[in-house]
Each structure stands twice: as structure tokens, then as C-alpha cells.
Symmetry: C2
Subunit: 716 residues, 2 copies
């Protein structure tokens, strides 16, 4: 007996590791075989497929499900025509098979893109139904069911009703026509200046569309907001049309960033003044031309009079004038204008207060198909900012949030920083616009201000790298953005767990510690880069690494770190109180008072709103200097801990991805120490206070760090 056990054990240990190397190119859509128990469960529940509908979208849904089912269970589905035990019926409300189920009451809650998944009794057993008002809803429902199977959930008794929180859920690619990607850290553009055959590219675009559809993203702007006017030439319109054809079965609309000066630059007009009838006509004609090729074209995204981009103010007009002119050109085609509020100029007003000041006067004065796109924070996409006061401020015109998936300020593709926690922090933030219960999410999803047009966007982090995002964990942010855009009440942790299971492995001994790293990762980055509300102290131009000391002769003050940290022998931080730049007054009561008072402001925004002496005492009794230093060290400790945790997870996933991630985590710790030492040593030249004695000494020397120069442009 014991001999038998022994030889079994030997056999077990001699078995080759069968986990094959993976590149990450399949994202969370790997569809690899599940364990036997799950296979049995799923093939018991579903054995055949009935597709009640025949358009391209529902066909894509059917194809996806068959592929997923085959991959996950090793079994093919029979295609049948009549409901019966073990069938999966997918279809739209107008189809007779769905009508017979009398779901209309519930379908009313689903809107145009929502869906129902339900287990219903039939003769001899039960079947599963995915029903929706449109094929798009069926597609999203199908991906929902697939996700349940991918994550090992039971599908024996389903009762799901879903609809998305925002109508438009869109990615912004900052891709230039020459193939570079602004703030891209995963290789060059997948869209532009590509040498590959169309067959290769179109396969990739289809995968991209599937990935987006799987998380509910229904649109994408594929070129940079710093837009090249040439994108409006026939050559590019044709390119866009070919891509749109691939997107269409996945309910993805294509949008375009346009340059406000296009009429003059490529249209040969005298100017691009929005009050010039020729300019107005030019945009109308251009819109008609686009819609000729792309009937479901989404619309324009515009960065105007911002960081040197042309705009209506070049002609003495306003943002309203510019946006409304474009809106009118698109109205006949149901296109929209996403007009960015990311505006600031050197001048009397501090950067963070300008967008609000500039846009609030136009509240309610935009055309119905204009939506104002606002970055989550009033400065930029810092690791932590207060939310932009335009959320809850602007009430009559619709406002959409712009997040940044690409990690411009959070470690590029070197650092593991799971951003769902950051986005949830903003979406859940209380604006008090209509008293308690006025979260940022509710100010933008139509709940509070009854807008029809609702949207949410995020700057993409993908490029031509084999794993799409440079860092394997960058994929999780693409995934999480989609999931939150659909339902911001999801927990970051649950989203992380789904993603880990689909992307890596199901074993809880792997899943739990990895989710733990993810959940702690953003705060770790904040701590080693920008604790206590510090911000904008990264390297000049490329934004890589710490440069609190940067001084570029002749540079705009509001592009220099010292504008933001204000470190001196007295103290540190940005005074945005009523005594300072007065950003606080742009918030509703009581937030205006809470932010204005260093006793009441949340500790993690202390230096965002206040300039305080080095020996200022925090509520926990620590001196500001000590508290700041502890935070920097805490960030590094966390990065080290992530390495430690990851190292113990070897063997749970394929060796390739394990080692690639291991390498990145090591790099993250190295760079975390760089940040910590640079900031602590630099600020110490002002505070003249010691690093608490129980902490390890800095590894680097300040002068050595100051000498580091990086010849990089946007990193890709």
C-alpha cells in the first residue's frame, strides 16, 4: 500500500510542468481549458445554441460563445433551432422565441445596450437565455456569460439584469499619424504608419474590438487629441472606414480627434473662425464626407486652445462658439462633439482653477450633442488629485470624465499600478452638488441632472507590444476601465479577481495575493512618488522619474515642479485655500470649507490644498516632514513587499509571464527607491530636518540623481 502511494508521489513530481509559456497577447480572452469539474457543470448546463437573429452583431456574439465554450470545455455546441433542455438561446426582443418568454417588463430596464441572462424551465429540464432589446445587448450578455464561465462561477441558475451606467464608453488613443504614441509605453501605434499587411492588422483590430466588447467599451478615438489636420483628408477617412467595418460587429463606434485649424490648414480657407460661414460649411461638408464612408461614425473629440492647440479663441470666439459650430455640422448625422475642458494658460490664475473659470459661464449654452470632457483632476492625471470641481459644478450641460489608463504619472509601463481604486475614488467622491449622495459618477451619468447624453472616457495604454500594454498588469487597467464604465458600483477587488482568474490562473493561493498586490499598488505609487497631496514633481517633458528640482530657463512656470511643491525653508505644498489660489471655492459646501481647513482636509490631499510649515503637525501627531518621509519609505516598503509576494508565486503561471512580471517588479522597486531618495533628499535641502533615525539611509546621493538625464520622447 505504502509502496503504491510512494510511486504515485514520484510520478507526480516527475510530471513535466505543463504550463505553456504565454506572451499575454490574448489578454483576458485566453479561453483555455477549465478543470474537469467545471467542464462537467458547464456542459451539463449548456449543450446547444439557438441564435434568434441574424445580423452581424448577434453573429459575432454566437461566434464568440462557440469559441469560448470550445476553448473552456473542449466541447462544441450543437446549433439548434428549437428551445429545449440544455440550450442557450440568444436573441433580441422582437424575435418570436424571445417574445414567447414574456420578458418585456424586465427588458424595459435594460435600455438599448443592457441584457437579461436567465435560466428558464423547459420540458425535461432548463435552458439559458440571453435576451436584449438590441443585438448589442445580446453581445454584452454573451460576454457576461463567458466571463462567468472563465472565472469558474456557477451558471446553473442565472438571474441577471444589466444595463450600462454611461451611454458612451470610449477609449482615447493618443496616437500620432507618424505611428508614435504620446504617453505610450507599449510600443508604437497599432493604427498608424504600420508596415504590416491588412490581414495581419485587421486580425489585430478584430481582437481589439472583441476585447473592448468583452468589457462593454463601445467606442474609440484612435488618434491623438493633439490632432494632425491631415486626419480629415480622404486618405485617413478611408483608413477609419476600414477599421470601423471591423469594429461594427462588436458594437464599437469610431471617433476622431480633429484639429480646430483644419479648415485653414487642409481646407485652404482663409481662417478657421467659427463665425466664418465658409468654415461652418467646410465642417458640414467634412462631416457629410465622413458619414458617407462611416454611417455610424461617432463624432469628434477636440482639444482646442489648450497647450498650444488652435481653437476658437484665436479668432476672439469662445469654447462655446467652437463646440457649437462643430456640433451643428454633426447633428444631421447623430454625431457628437466631445469638447475638452483641459485648458490653462500662464497668467494670474493658478492652473487648477482655470478650467472651471473658463467653462462655467457656458453651462447650458452648448448644443445638445456637445459633451464637455473633463480630466478627473483639475491639474492633470496626477497619482492623486482632488476631483475637478466641474463635476457637480456644471449642471445644465452634460459633462464626461476623462481618466488616463496609460501611466503617464504612475510609473509608465514599468510599475504595477492597478488604477481601478483610483478611478473609484474619483467616481465615488462626494461633490455635495445636491447634498449628500451627489457622487462624481452621479453628476455625469444622468442621475442628478437628467442629461440624455452621458459618457465616460479614458486614455488608452496600448501599443504594438506583444502583450498590448508593456506591463502585463497594464492589461488590468484596460479591463477595469471597461468594467467600471459599465457599472461603477463594482468593487475594484472583484474586478481584479475576475481579471486575474481570466488572465492567469484560478488557484486561490495565487489569486488572493495577486489581488492584494493590485489593491495596494496605487497607494504604494502615490506614497513613493507624491504622498500627502504632492503632485507634478516628475521629470520634465518625458515625465519619467523624479525631478522636483527641475529648472528650465525660460520655461512656463506652470510646467515646473516648483510651481506645485513650493518647497522652501518655511514649508511645502500648494496653497489653494481662500488665502491662496482659491480652488476651494469652486467646490460645493461643505467641501469648500473642509478643503480650506488643514484640520478637516483629508490627509491624502493636505499638500494639494495647503502650504504648511515643515513642523506642522498632522492629526496623527506626526510632523509634516516626518510624515512625508515615512510615506516615501512606506511606498518603497510596499514595492519590496510586492516582489516578495510575487517571488513566492512561481509555478502557478507560465514561466515567461512570471519572469517578465518579476523583472518589472524589481524595476519598480529600483525606481521607487529612486523617487524616494530624490524627493526626500531634495526636500531636505529646504527642511534641514533629519530623516527619522530608525529608517534606512538613502541609497542615492542627491547630486548624482540630479545629473541623470534621459533622452526620451514620450517613451515609445
Amino acid at each position: 500500500m505504502s509502496g503504491k502511494i510512494c510511486s504515485l508521489l514520484v510520478l507526480f513530481f516527475l510530471l513535466p510542468n505543463v504550463i505553456l509559456a504565454e506572451s499575454g497577447e490574448k489578454l483576458w480572452l485566453r479561453y483555455l481549458p477549465l478543470d474537469n469539474a467545471k467542464v462537467v457543470d458547464y456542459t451539463n448546463a449548456i449543450r446547444s445554441l439557438i441564435v434568434a437573429g441574424d445580423d452581424a452583431v448577434i453573429s459575432a456574439a454566437a461566434e464568440e460563445f462557440q469559441m469560448a465554450f470550445n476553448g473552456l470545455t473542449g466541447n462544441d455546441l450543437r446549433k439548434v433551432n428549437r428551445p429545449g433542455a440544455g440550450a442557450l438561446l440568444i436573441g433580441t426582443a422582437e424575435n418570436r422565441l424571445i417574445r414567447d418568454l414574456e420578458l418585456s417588463k424586465d427588458l424595459e430596464k435594460c435600455g438599448p445596450e443592457g441584457y437579461i441572462i436567465r435560466t428558464v424551465p423547459v420540458r425535461n429540464g432548463q435552458m439559458t437565455v440571453i435576451a436584449a432589446n438590441t443585438s448589442a445587448g445580446v453581445l454584452y450578455g454573451t460576454f457576461d456569460l463567458i466571463r462567468r464561465m472563465q472565472t469558474g462561477e456557477s451558471i446553473a441558475k442565472l438571474e441577471v439584469i444589466e444595463s450600462p451606467a454611461f451611454k458612451i464608453r470610449v477609449l482615447n488613443h493618443w496616437d500620432n499619424l507618424n505611428g508614435t504614441v504620446e504617453r505610450g509605453y507599449a510600443g508604437h501605434s497599432i493604427w498608424f504608419n504600420r508596415p504590416e499587411d491588412w490581414s495581419v492588422r485587421s486580425a489585430q483590430y478584430k481582437f481589439y474590438a472583441r476585447a473592448n466588447a468583452s468589457v462593454g467599451i463601445n467606442g474609440t478615438v484612435i488618434n491623438n487629441v493633439n490632432a494632425d489636420p491631415n486626419v480629415l483628408t480622404a486618405e485617413y477617412i478611408e483608413k477609419y472606414a476600414r477599421i470601423a467595418d471591423i469594429f461594427r460587429p462588436y458594437n464599437m463606434k469610431i471617433y476622431m480627434s480633429v484639429n480646430f485649424a483644419s479648415p485653414a490648414v487642409i481646407g485652404g480657407l482663409e481662417n478657421s473662425d467659427p463665425f466664418n460661414p465658409a468654415v461652418q460649411q467646410w465642417w458640414k461638408d467634412k462631416a457629410a464626407e465622413i458619414y458617407q464612408s462611416i454611417p455610424d461614425f461617432g463624432g469628434f473629440l477636440v482639444k482646442a486652445n489648450s497647450e498650444g492647440q488652435p481653437g476658437p479663441m484665436d479668432y476672439g470666439r469662445t469654447h462655446k462658439d467652437g463646440a457649437n459650430m462643430m456640433a451643428k455640422a454633426l447633428q444631421a448625422h447623430n454625431g457628437i462633439v466631445m469638447w475638452r475642458a483641459f485648458v490653462y494658460e500662464p497668467g494670474d490664475d493658478e492652473r487648477s482653477v482655470q478650467a472651471y473659470n473658463e467653462f462655467m459661464p457656458f453651462d447650458g449654452e452648448f448644443e445638445d450633442n456637445v459633451i464637455v470632457q473633463v480630466k478627473n483632476g483639475p491639474v492633470d492625471f496626477m497619482p492623486r488629485e482632488s476631483f475637478s470641481p466641474l463635476f457637480g459644478g456644471m449642471q445644465k450641460s452634460p459633462v464626461m470624465i476623462e481618466f488616463q489608463i496609460t501611466q503617464e504619472y504612475l510609473g509608465h509601463s514599468n510599475h504595477l499600478a492597478y488604477l481601478s481604486t483610483m478611478w473609484k475614488e474619483v467616481l465615488d467622491a462626494e461633490t455635495f452638488a445636491k447634498g449628500v449622495g451627489s457622487s462624481v459618477a452621479k453628476t455625469t451619468d444622468g442621475t442628478l441632472f437628467n442629461h440624455e447624453l452621458t459618457a465616460i472616457s479614458a486614455v488608452s495604454n496600448i501599443g504594438r507590444d506583444i502583450n498590448w500594454t508593456g506591463h502585463h498588469f497594464g492589461q488590468s487597467n484596460w479591463y477595469a476601465f471597461g468594467r467600471l464604465a459599465w457599472d461603477y458600483d463594482l468593487l475594484s477587488e472583484d474586478i481584479a479577481e475576475e481579471w486575474v482568474k481570466m488572465t492567469f490562473a484560478h488557484d486561490q493561493k495565487f489569486v488572493e495575493p495577486v489581488v492584494d498586490i493590485m489593491m495596494r499598488s496605487r497607494e504604494a505609487v502615490v506614497n513613493y512618488m507624491n504622498p500627502l497631496g504632492l503632485h507634478h514633481i516628475m521629470g520634465w517633458d518625458h515625465h519619467f522619474g523624479p525631478e522636483p528640482w527641475t529648472d528650465i530657463p525660460g520655461a512656463r512656470e506652470d510646467w515646473l515642479p516648483r510651481y506645485y511643491h513650493n518647497a522652501s525653508e518655511f514649508g511645502i505644498g500648494f496653497d489653494r485655500t481662500t488665502n491662496g489660489s482659491n480652488l476651494v471655492s469652486q467646490y460645493h459646501s461643505p467641501l469648500n470649507k473642509i478643503y480650506n481647513d488643514p484640520l478637516l482636509v483629508p490627509e491624502n490631499l493636505l499638500l494639494w490644498f495647503h502650504h504648511l510649515p515643515w513642523n506642522y503637525r498632522l492629526q496623527n501627531g506626526l510632523k509634516l516632514w516626518d510624515a512625508m518621509v515615512y510615506k516615501y519609505y512606506e511606498g518603497v516598503d510596499e514595492a519590496r513587499l510586492f516582489q516578495n509576494i510575487w517571488d513566492r508565486l512561481e509555478g502557478y503561471i507560465d514561466d515567461r509571464r512570471f519572469k517578465e512580471i518579476q523583472f518589472k517588479l524589481k524595476l519598480q522597486t529600483t525606481e521607487a527607491i529612486w523617487w524616494r531618495d530624490a524627493c526626500v533628499l531634495y526636500f531636505q535641502t529646504y527642511s534641514n530636518l533629519p530623516i527619522p533615525s530608525e529608517l534606512e539611509r538613502p541609497i542615492h546621493d542627491l547630486d548624482e540623481l540630479k545629473e541623470l538625464k534621459f533622452d526620451m520622447k514620450h517613451h515609445n
Copy 2:
């Protein structure tokens, strides 16, 4: 040349340490010589004294200043009659010398106890004036000037106008007539059952009165709120009268805790029913008897129908009935009733909500000379609680806060815990009673609700120990309470610095690290005892050490730790949300919503308001279990750091106090580890989660800790 330097160095090192051992008995009133430069400055500024007035209080002020000046500078002051260069003139407004200075406008701001300190020009130079409307004001002004000298401030150009925030600033002694002190950790009572001669005792009482006057405390209740009826017998009234005589020159009133059942117990009446005319008459007679002996007697403090004490509800009457009966007895004599709202009974309502429910119906129904005394937190004096919702809740009747100086729940006299930061946290807490700007302080100081009667109190920490408070740093809490009662806008740090300089030494190399320890100390205690809003998990009855596991058969549930921590396999914390005991609804909007939402509630009150699963994620991404464990370890790390810092300060102060404090800090670390290990290991039996791998392992074993039993009663 180098030989000379060498021998000077040798000489320096050979000099004996001239710092004499100190016992701490002189508190912060040591009046030891300052360094030469200061002596020169002060004797330049002040060389003579003019006392414009001749009552006992102004005489005490003059005596104090002469003693202080002599001690600090080694010089005696000439007593003179006419203003001139180098004079210090102290006097009240009606005195001609003060009238001549035309200060009446400024004196209007001072009220009955405030004062002006001003440098005024005279022929041949300048003189210093302390002026006030009453002798009491002169006394407080004199102590202010002394404090400036004690702390080395310049007195060459003074321009001070002060008045106290609260009218009544009172200590509560929990001293029993048998000489024990409930929750006293510094020896037996200084008031009762004392064998010493009156000369010895009266000298101590005078020192006590001086110490209180030096920080503005103007009243004291010398017996326990769990009051012995015998305190109202002639024997004790005479004792009180003798003590009151000593207090009088220091503007200190004496108050008495009384037992509601006194008429029956010592008066021989049938009952103590407040509606019984005989009872009412008994109290009137008793008040007259007291005022006969003590014309400036302050009034009564009453704990009724609370923790077994008798009260009006024993006769079907209410708190209002009881308080008003006593109030009427005192009205003719200008006495007041401080009626405690610390009430709770086992029953349907959770402990923390009961005081509000029981007292709010009587808002506005008390006599004018009744003030409701409310503990800072709704449960008790835990290391951290939310503030009691009666602050800002009760608006028509005046409310006073009761703090606890004695460290019942913060390490007794073993732990260094500077409590000013805790009290400031409460005083500064925003109630939103009348929108932003309605701090707890402003709800009780007359600002918001226009009450004439305002007061603040704290339970004293003193006893017969030579240094008064057991722990030398316990003195700082007595000191800080007085300073905050006078001016709650003072910074805890500035108060600490004053106290350290007066109590120990002026050298900034000593002062700064010691102030740093003090400022961090309360949060450290919170962390190793009760992080994240945990509370009431201390030892049964004596409240010493951790006992989260306590189970006493037949004990009241609301006296057991499990009632408060609710640890289970699911999670931990007290649900006081709208789904739980609903304490949240007793707060004004938006606090009610903020506290109700685990996303919005401050992290340090998370488990005070919420019962959450062990894997609940905090805003910083940490799991609740991990976050809690980190906090426990952080607390211990801080205690260790305090030792480390203190050890490096040897030689700055006398060896006796240095070593005594060193010993206590060691004890504090030992007990911090005990708390940490006990709580982490105990809660781990529910969470079944590991202690994060990078942390040291617990030193103790849970079973071993559970066996510890202490046969102590109130510790003194």
C-alpha cells in the same frame, strides 16, 4: 595655543553634572534660574513692582510674581508706589493708576477673568502693565507673564489681550471619602482620609491652587461622582470650607459631587423623590448650610440613574425633574448644577445612542443654572471615539464637555500619552449643527447657541504620589487641559513646548524630540490598543491591559468587550449605521451620511461605525485584517522609538526624572507588545488570516496571555 584648547576641553568634561535630582513635586512651577542672557533681559525690563489693589487675590498674584522673579533671575523686585521706567504695574480697572492708562476699550474685551499685558512708555523708558476688570484677571495675567519668562520669551514689548473661552473650567476628582481614587493611578486621595497635619496638607492645597490658577482652572469638584451621601454632613462641609479658604486667593471655587439619595440616606426622609416637598426643602436647607460656610461655593455635580447610582427615575421622575429641583435649591446662592448625561442601561438600545435619546427630550427644559455634562464620546473615554452627538444636538440648554485626564483607557500612569491632541480633535470636530464652523467647542462655549452658562471639565489624574500624577508626563495633561479650557485655539504642540521648557529644560535639542514624542504619543496608544475605531477591549473592571476575550458569566453584555468588537469569522466592528444601532442618525447632515458610509467615514473611526468583513478593502487598498495588524505593529514601533529617542536625551535633565521616565517608557513598550499580541492573536482566531510575512512574529502566546489575572481595584 592647541594646548590651551585641549585643557579647556578637559576642564569642560571634568565639570560635575550640576543638574540636581528633582522629584517632580513642583510641577511646571519650578522657578529655577534662567541663563544669564535672559536674566539680563528680564531685569532690564522689570525692576520694581506696583500693586494697585489690596485684596487676597491680587496679593496672591503679587506674591507669586515676586517668588517667580526671584527664582528665575536671582533678583528681588523693589516694591514701589509710583509708575516709572522698569516697573511692573498690576491692578484692576477701578484703580486710579490703571484708569490713568485709558484701557477701558480693551478691557471691555476681557470680561470678568481676562486681562491685558502691555508695555507702555513712561518718562525715561517703559513699564509693563497687567490690567484687568477683576483681581482674578490680574492673577491670570500675572501667571501669563511668569510663563513667558519661564519659557524664555521676550518681555520687552508686550501687547496681550486675553479672555477665557469657558466661564467655568473645572477639575473633577473621583476621590472617595475613604481616600481611594476611582481610576486614580497616582496614589490615594490628596483630599480625604489623610493622616497628615493640616499644615502639611494646606501647603499642598495651596500648591494645587497655584498650579490650577497658573493654567486658568477656576474650580474643582474634589469628591467622586459616585458620591457618598456623607459628603453632605456637617463634618465634610467644614472640611470643604477649610479647603475653599485656601483656594479663594487663587480664584478657585470648590464644588461637590452629591448623591441623589442623600435626603433619605442622611436626612432621614422617607424618600428622595424630587416631587416630595420635604425633599425639596431638605436640599434648600442643605444649600443654605453650605453657603453659610462657603459663600462662594460653586455648586453640585450629579451622577444620577447611571451605573447603579440613585436618581429621580427611581421615583418615576426624570432627569429634568431631578436637576431642576437641585437647581432651585442653589439659585438663591448663584450655585449651579452640573448634571451628567453619562447614562446607559442594558436594553434594546445600544449603549452609545442612549444618552442622546434620554436627554434630547429635555432640551430647553432645564433651569438656567443647570448645565448638562457630557463625556467627549458617546460610550466613554475610549482612546478614540466619535464625539457625542449631544454636542450640537442639544441647543437650547447649555452643555459642557467632560474629558478624562486620568488615563483609565490610555495606559494608566504607565504610558506616556499626551492628551491635548485627543481633546483638540474633539473640540475642533465639526458638528455641522449650524453648517460648517460649528465645532464641538463652539457648541459649548456660548458662540453658537448664546448661552450665558458655559463650562468645561476633566477628570483629574492626581494623587498623593510625590510627582502628583504617577507618570511625570501625566503632569502635561493637567497642564494642557487648563490651557485648552482657557483657549482651545492653542496648538497642542505649543502647549507641549511651554510645558517641557517649564518642567524640564530649555535646550531645543531636548525640547524638540520630547515634544515630538508627546505629539505622537496618543496615536501610538490608539494604534497598539484600539486602532481603526475599535474600543472597550480592555480588562474587566480594572481596565488594565487587553482582554478582548473577556467573558464573565452573568455580566452585563454592555460591559463585555465582545459587545463592542463583535469579532466573528465574518469580520469585526460595531455596526452603528442605519442598519445597526443607528448612532449615525444622531449626527447632523452631512455627518450622518458620511459616518454611515464605509467609503466616507474617516479611517480612524471605521470600526466604530461599521462591522466589516476581514477582507474589506480600505481606501488605501489594504485588507481590513492587514490594515488592523499593521496599526497594532505601528503602535509598538512608535513606543520603541520613544524609548530610543529618550535614551539619547540623557544629561539634559536631572538623572532622577530621566531614569523614572526611562523606566516608564520601557514599561510602555512591554505593555504595548502585550496589547498588540493579545489583540492580533485573539482576532486571528476569527479571521484565520496570517500576520503579514514581513512583520515580526508575536512574542507572546494567546493562551498564556489569557491566563493573566490582575487583582487590582482602580489601581491606586
